[in-house]
Symmetry: C2
DNA sequence: AACGACAAGATTGTCGACAATATTCAAATA
DNA sequence: TATTTGAATATTGTCGACAATCTTGTCGTT
């Protein structure tokens, strides 16, 4: 009992920021890993702009590694939907478009809805408790803290539910496949939005549904939540 | 008008078999492409058994190409969820497990449900007409033709709806990411099922919903359809 | 006999060079 | 002047060799 409680408290000490950092700072064992992480970071954060050409030789001199590791990094970026590659021509960073964003959010709605549904069944009581406490800690900081932390908190929330689904395909698709692209859109199109307080209420209701072990409701609320985000972003794009 | 009609008839001449072949026989421009397609085929059809180790040197001698192209092929297989790779250790063909199959079908339910929803909005009238005619041609052959064609027909049906969603993320995830794994399970676990006639009725209802431009219903019916398939398979696994 | 350290072998990771393909740009032709 | 041909250049694709890491099996110690 003591141990369990300590565990929960300890986890809460991993604030949203630290947690979010850990998501993206996987441990790189090989040189291709490092190149992959670095390149991904530079693409997501816009240091290498959207639609830019990725020259293998150029990158290999810049990163001081051989072309082979750059090639492998680019290949991995391609499976993350962050770059597009044409045979005998080369690779480009993906172009960001309103249509692409819509498509991305449609897939998110589908997959994260299913994640919430599965999480309602598969999350342990401890994980649900941690999720609740995360929300509590966020509600206290919601006025004082700056926007970046709110962003991180949002990612944290979604990330935990995705992991809570316990479905490896789902987890892989979302974490490795879509979320970096989502982040790229957010960073580069300046999507931080207000919508924090309303989104926070939506988060609370989703957690409540998961806590009640109500898969149908959890899915529906998550889908709505993402749909609202999408609509919010669409509205901003048309300004 | 003439042209349009001719086009539809012509498409119908591409029977389920030919259509399905075309799905998997993409044109390979580079050597890595060929190695990738060949390796994928051998894995899906069980020539290289599940959970088998993939030795780069061994495959490079077998295919008579350099290790680099085998490496790239294996990397691509990894993003298709057909092999798993560990740094400095090597790659193995994925293991087939009942749990893995369940997870796969959960993701399919989510994504193909969304595909049906989007198809109800985004498919052209012509595409809907072709889909209807495809079903008609299948209903005539359903008793006479052998099982393989029914399998192909099923793939064909789902494939058209996926394409009809017009959502590139969705299409890519399903066609390049999940369907070969689905096929691998079907081939290797001998999932062909009867369930043809009932499944066929479900197909008809889904097409009807799409034809009525009813996204909600189309999604719900597609999800149920896949859920039934999953249940059917689960039942067989426990025999 | 069980366990751990160490060496030998095998496999993957990385590199630089060469081959094949695409792009660019200048010259020739209509 | 516009268009096409063709050579020159640059980029990607493929290869074989070497380096780094893991695996295997033997030996020695407890």
């Amino acid at each position: 009992m003591h141990v369990k409680h300590y565990y929960i408290v300890y986890n809460l000490l991993n604030t949203a920021l630290r947690f979010t950092m850990s998501i993206f700072h996987e441990n790189a064992v090989t040189a291709s890993d490092k190149a992959f992480f670095r390149l991904r970071k530079e693409i997501v954060e816009g240091e290498i702009p959207a639609s830019a050409k990725l020259s293998e030789t150029e990158l290999s001199t810049k990163y001081e590694v051989s072309r082979a590791v750059v090639r492998e990094a680019i290949n991995r970026l391609e499976s993350c939907n962050l770059v597009e590659r044409k045979p005998n021509v080369g690779a480009r960073v993906v172009a960001l478009s309103p249509e692409g964003l819509i498509e991305l959010y449609q897939v998110r709605e589908s997959l994260e809805g299913m994640a919430a549904r599965l999480a309602a069944t598969n999350m342990s009581d401890d994980e649900v408790a941690e999720l609740k406490m995360l929300l509590n800690s966020q509600s206290e900081n919601i006025k004082t803290t700056e926007r970046y932390y709110q962003e991180a908190g949002d990612l944290d929330f979604h990330y935990r539910i995705i992991l809570g689904s316990k479905n490896n395909h789902l987890i892989n698709m979302l974490v490795n496949g879509l979320y970096h692209l989502v982040r790229m859109y957010r960073v580069q199109l300046g999507m931080a939005g207000p919508r924090v307080s309303t989104a926070f209420d939506e988060h609370k209701h989703i957690v409540q549904a998961i806590s009640n072990r109500d898969p149908e409701l959890a899915e529906m609320l998550m889908r709505r939540h993402i749909m609202y985000s999408k609509n919010n972003i669409e509205a901003k794009l048309q300004q």
